[in-house]
Symmetry: C2
Subunit: 370 residues, 2 copies
């Protein structure tokens, strides 16, 4: 194998594909990137959960392929001068990387040892902008469960109904949902669950651009996310996802339009006396024109309040501070509607108009004392 | 005790004094900040090695003092709205912090439990700008030893000769020296050794300003660094510091004016195949107009070269890559003079003109093969 290409181009491709490389594996080849020089150059990282492949043009004078340790290869290319990089490898996998006056000799591994990526047909799928997919992931992925007892909830549900994509995460204490219009090449409705880890990687590697499109092609066991010359293959989670429609209460008695930032500030301040070791719910008391938030731990007592729209009846409700903050911080709008019923009913956060997002946080039972 | 002051002013004082607070101590009071309200407000942190005290004006309506846990106090004040903060504490050390609508109640500790700072007389000392002291520390402190077997070398030597201040750090493998003119109120010559840890804190907390002055008052066991209303008291290290003048060779045969950046780039690239686990010296070969640097580890081989001023005789010398990089990165000038003698003699780096700084790195014996 022998090729040359611009350092910057190679560097960018590595920085994308390295996201799918296993960081610590007993199988050395999984810590590597597969480099394939055919008509074009392809880099590929694969950790059995996610695979990322990027294809780009290079001056290829001898076809072939090699697996190089991803970390050392990435470190080297990043530090090379901004010039043309030449990579040559011989039959014994001895690889030489040259750029300017710098030269590195590394032993690679046989491409035959590299696991094959699952093949996903690019049949009909959906299409949306990279920016939109990123925001849908970012606004829901935090609520994915980290409890492996219920593996299906360690991923986010993607549900396609006509031209509407709904992404939902739940972890037993809260729910996060994002809903947007997309282009649907398929006529049938579909649903599949993508691992949260993979979604975080996808959000990291796809450009934050409205002009670039992502195609999502779901199959039974795997799905393919395609952005221009980058392909992300992911396995899907199997099992029965929570019937989220039934889980969201629709009988709330109190709806308050609130300013997100002012409540975040209050909750953040009251949270200062809560720590990993000193946990306690925060007590939120909605009454008249004020929301009074307090908390007591062995460190002391914290109290804060902010002005709200008039709340006709007094509702006192306890929350896990982290869950309430996560939901409020994810709100993509300045003002949202908070729906409450009683101190034992979940709190629901919705947009003032439309159905773009929905957050639900379950209450925590409060002790009698303040 | 009862006082009010601007949140921003209090916050800044905390962020300075917290540097001297013990992060983990079996004595709870050492994790606290002593707040004293007299005619002015004083904050004080002390970990038995370094003490930092800052005095500033506040509206004091009731004198007194309290010790509050530094971490929680700092977290709270940082998050408060930008407003006037009121702090009140009663006879049982119950402390209330109020700002806007926020209120915190914390239990403080008795100021009587807080250890007393050593008293250092502000008799005659030296004076230099904050910017200069910071640069002198930053250019030498990296070479302080972390080996507690020779405690004196875990600090930097401050040597005052007439109007000249010399700061020197050594760790058995290298030496870093910085030399500047200062104002000396004392007539006698002086030398004392300040713990490296303290110097790092001092460099962090003093402003990077040419207009603000630091006064340094050394005594037998302690020294005082004074910047406006901030006082840093530090213990000094006892023992015999290396006679650095004798340690620096003066019989070098080869002097080369080099471009610092281009050598740093080469060394950094060659260092890519060196890791915590895979150590090996870098081989530097000075010959004619080029410096060829190479290294071999079990990862592979790295090679780089750069153009230098003509080197009349070939010198091949091995270095610990980290030590050579530290010295080159600390050079405050673009071009410096590299002094070499043989593969077994230390390499000395000096300014092209003057005696502002000096770095010395000991060679590492190379094996015969490349």
């Amino acid at each position: 194998m022998k090729f040359t290409c611009e350092k910057a181009v190679l560097n960018e491709a590595i920085s994308i594909c390295i996201h799918a490389v296993a960081t610590k594996s007993t199988i050395a080849v999984l810590e590597g990137l597969l480099i394939t020089a055919e008509d074009e150059l392809t880099l590929c990282g694969y950790n059995f959960k996610t695979g990322i492949k990027k294809t780009f043009p290079a001056e290829i004078s001898e076809k072939g392929s090699i697996v190089l340790n991803a970390k050392i290869f990435s470190d080297i290319v990043r530090k090379l001068p901004d010039d043309i990089v030449e990579i040559v490898c011989d039959d014994h996998y001895m690889t030489t990387i040259r750029c300017g006056l710098s030269e590195f000799n590394l032993i690679g591994a046989s491409p035959a040892e590299f696991p094959e990526l699952p093949n996903v047909e690019k049949s009909q799928g959906i299409k949306l902008s990279c920016k939109l997919l990123r925001s849908m992931i970012d606004h829901t992925v935090f609520a994915v469960s980290d409890n492996e007892n219920k593996p299906i909830h360690t991923g986010s549900l993607f549900e396609i109904t006509g031209n509407q994509l709904t992404v939902v995460s739940v972890d037993g204490y809260r729910l996060a949902m994002s809903q947007e219009e997309v282009e649907n090449g398929k006529t049938e409705n579909l649903s599949f669950v993508v691992p949260g880890e993979t979604l975080k990687e996808i959000s990291r590697i796809i450009p934050d651009s409205e002009d670039k499109a992502v195609h999502i092609y779901p199959e039974k066991k795997h799905a393919l996310f395609e952005v221009e010359d980058t392909l992300v293959t992911t396995r899907l989670l199997e099992g029965e996802f929570l019937n989220y429609r039934n889980a969201i209460p629709n009988d709330c008695t109190t709806k308050l339009e609130i300013n997100v930032k002012s409540i975040i500030d209050c909750v953040e301040r009251v949270s200062l006396i809560i720590s990993e070791r000193l946990k306690n719910p925060i007590r939120c008391c909605f009454e008249g024109n004020s929301l009074k938030i307090s908390c007591v731990t062995s460190l002391g007592r914290a109290y804060d309040e902010c002005t709200i729209e008039n709340c006709p009846e007094k509702i006192e409700i306890g929350f896990n501070n982290r869950y309430l903050l996560d939901a409020l911080r994810a709100c993509p709008e300045e003002k949202v509607v908070l729906e409450l019923k009683s101190s034992l009913s979940p709190c629901v956060i919705r947009p003032v108009e439309g159905t773009k997002f929905l957050y639900m946080v379950l209450p925590v039972r409060l002790k009698a004392d303040a």
